[in-house]
């Protein structure tokens, strides 16, 4: 079991009068660099603090042109974390491979982060969310093909001595020879997040990597997806280990259940009703029609469409309560879902700095140790051997 803190770095200042989506066409005139200065530095403080609090690692991710998450370049953030921390894992979940031209750039930047951190990077690779294809001009109907070719190329970068030639359908390179190369051998661990498309789960199972379940769905959607993933691994001839699965979930801990709800609820709704709208846009060809229909069908079970607090609790869209409540609920869900990685979103939407800090501290002191005991893991057993500085 590993426990990560996930950050989205949201924009909490959308004007009340704005009722449109937070993605693609949300006017960037709403952004204010001076507020951004405060936010980025505050969010970085929160992530860095996770190390002292005893998390196994932190996670950042990549999104463009939206108010939901302001990390179009997660590698910049990861580089800062690499320098400002010494022990914990830094998971970039992940670089949207088709958006990097050539994909060798991902191999280069990830190798830099891995070197600077002493071998602590987790290399997440994603196709890129549907909205990114509206913002970036790339053809969504080619997204998965490009992703697959880019991924193979990146792996060659890390496992095959350069210079070598890559003549693929989408990328044609005469001299592939990236400097630097990563610390971790054969390469940093690879995580692939997914929202339930069959293609992604089959693919991750085949490669024996880890599948991170994309959040904001009813818990039974997670369960269905993880069950499918386990089945996909069986079809590949092996049994999935829990470490190959990750559960991303907003968590809020306060002194009592009532206090937790009162403190967290308005910020959850800002997130669900102001930042999620537009996230589910799925451009043509982005996924197969079979998967698209499956995912569209799941929208009744998506946080954007949830209306009441009772539904939030029943569906485990967020785990909110006193330390005892959160302990119990998380332990139960970890067991039921069969996951080996818990990625908790301890800051969400408009949740301010003081409440974020309190949440992190209560989670770290009251929940994390219990969950470690329950699952028989310790910080020491999870520690990454840092590279000796020559």
């Amino acid at each position: 079991m590993k426990f990560f803190m996930f950050h989205l770095m949201p924009w909490p200042y959308l004007p009340e009068t704005y009722v449109g989506p937070a993605w693609v066409k949300c006017p960037n005139g709403f952004y204010d660099g001076r507020r951004g200065h405060g936010l980025y530095n505050r969010y970085l403080d929160e992530l860095i603090r996770a190390e002292a609090l005893g998390f196994d690692g932190v996670c950042v991710n990549e999104h463009h042109a939206n108010a939901y998450g302001n990390m179009p370049s997660p590698n910049l953030i990861a580089a800062i974390l690499a320098r400002q921390t010494v022990r914990m894992r830094i998971a970039v979940v992940g670089n949207a491979l088709p958006l990097y031209n050539p994909p060798v750039r991902v191999a280069e930047e990830y190798a830099m982060i891995d070197c600077i951190s002493g071998g602590r990077l987790i290399a997440g690779m994603v196709v890129g969310g549907g909205p990114e294809y509206y913002s970036n001009g790339l053809n969504p109907a080619e997204a998965r093909e490009r992703f697959s070719e880019a991924l193979d190329l990146i792996l060659r970068c890390w496992t095959e001595p350069g210079p070598f030639v890559h003549m693929g359908k989408h990328y044609k390179l005469r001299y592939v020879n990236p400097w630097p190369t990563p610390v971790q051998q054969p390469h940093p661990p690879i995580w692939i997040p997914g929202a339930g498309s069959y293609e992604t789960m089959d693919f991750v199972a085949r490669r024996r990597w880890a599948y991170m379940g994309i959040p904001y769905f009813h818990k039974r959607v997670f369960k269905k997806n993880f069950d499918y993933f386990r089945e996909a691994c069986e079809k590949e001839g092996y049994t999935a280990s829990p470490e190959q699965m990750g559960w991303l979930v907003p968590v809020y801990v306060a002194e009592t259940d009532a206090q937790a709800r009162a403190e967290f609820e308005p910020h959850l709704w800002y997130f669900a009703k102001r930042l999620l709208p537009g996230i589910n846009i799925s451009p043509p060809g982005y996924t197969s029609p079979r998967s698209a229909l499956k995912m569209l069908g799941a929208f009744g079970e998506f946080l954007l469409n949830v209306g009441t607090w009772e539904q939030v609790v029943e569906g485990a869209y967020a785990i909110v309560g006193s330390p005892a409540t959160v302990r119990e609920r998380m332990a139960e869900l970890i067991g039921w879902l069969g996951v080996g990685n818990v990625l908790s979103l301890l800051q969400l939407g408009t949740l301010p700095a003081d409440l974020t800090r309190k949440n992190m501290e209560l989670f770290a002191s009251e929940v994390l140790p219990y969950l470690r005991d329950e699952t028989g893991t310790s910080l020491e057993s999870n520690a990454v051997a840092s590279a000796p500085v020559a």
Binding site: N139, P140, P283, P284, G285
Partner: protein, 263 residues
């Protein structure tokens, strides 16, 4: 009325509908309902043997994975004409099919006897960008492509305000159709930057047909096609949106048949 055939073209399977009598005519459909046999096709079939192939990725036609751009579709149709043993034929292209037809006529002028472009995409005018097809909801699409909002198809699209309202087979067909269109028309958006400069190569007598109220591809595109294709005529259908074959089949067929009957 139409006969349904499956034709193999360079490893792809083409679902071909053929109906009517008289000289052959090739109809290249849009991203909409005219991939299936409609009243407009019946009317054209009164004077021509109408050949209505479904583009790769539409209906039961396969091979969309082999299509990476408009030129792949152009060659596909050159190949299809060869497989069918057809010499120079009249080609009627609607919207997306009109783009293919324009390219065919420009790149393979000897294969095209006469050309009809109905509300064809394929060009780009900065001052009048083509409307958003891929990112729009069905109600938004209805608003853009129909003048008559009470047309049954417009009403059907307007009713689809959530996925629960959409019959699954329709949703599936639409997703496939949009994917097939996106393979060719995502970026550059529904056009070929080189086409405008190549239209001078068209030798076929050409009718440009346009619904005046086309909210997806404004009339100015029809005018541009007419300007660039040597000898082309423009006929505007009043009180009509983007798909005259669907919205005003009688006027559509009359204009096309009238044009094709001229010597």
């Amino acid at each position: 009325m139409p006969e349904r055939r499956t034709v193999r073209v360079a490893g792809k399977e083409v679902r071909l509908l053929v109906g009517g009598g008289g000289p052959p005519l090739l109809y290249l459909h849009s991203v909409g309902a005219d991939a299936e046999w409609l009243e407009a096709h019946d009317r054209l079939a009164s004077r021509f043997t109408v050949h209505l192939p479904a583009h790769p990725g539409f209906a039961e036609s396969t091979g969309v994975d082999q299509v990476d751009g408009i030129f792949d579709l152009v060659l596909h149709y050159v190949d299809l004409l060869g497989v069918l043993g057809l010499g120079a034929v009249p080609v009627v292209g609607a919207s997306f099919g009109g783009w293919i037809a324009a390219e065919l006529a420009a790149l393979y002028p000897e294969r095209i006897a006469r050309l009809v472009l109905a509300d064809a995409v394929g060009l780009w005018i900065d001052e009048a960008p083509i409307g958003e097809l891929f990112g729009s909801t069905p109600p938004e699409v209805a608003q853009m492509i129909f003048h008559d909002q009470e047309h049954p198809l417009a009403q059907m699209l307007r009713a689809m305000t959530s996925i629960a309202d959409v019959p699954e087979d329709f949703a599936y067909a639409q997703l496939r159709a949009l994917e097939a269109a996106a393979k060719v028309g995502w970026n550059p958006y529904l056009h070929d930057p080189k086409l405008e400069g190549r239209l001078r190569r068209v030798t076929a007598p050409t009718l440009v047909l346009w619904g005046r109220e086309d909210g997806l591809v404004p009339l100015v595109y029809g005018e541009r096609y007419r300007e660039r294709i040597p000898g082309a005529r423009l006929h505007v259908i009043e009180r009509c949106g983007h798909l005259p074959a669907i919205e005003r089949p009688a006027e559509f067929a009359e204009a096309v048949l009238g044009f094709l009957a001229q010597t």
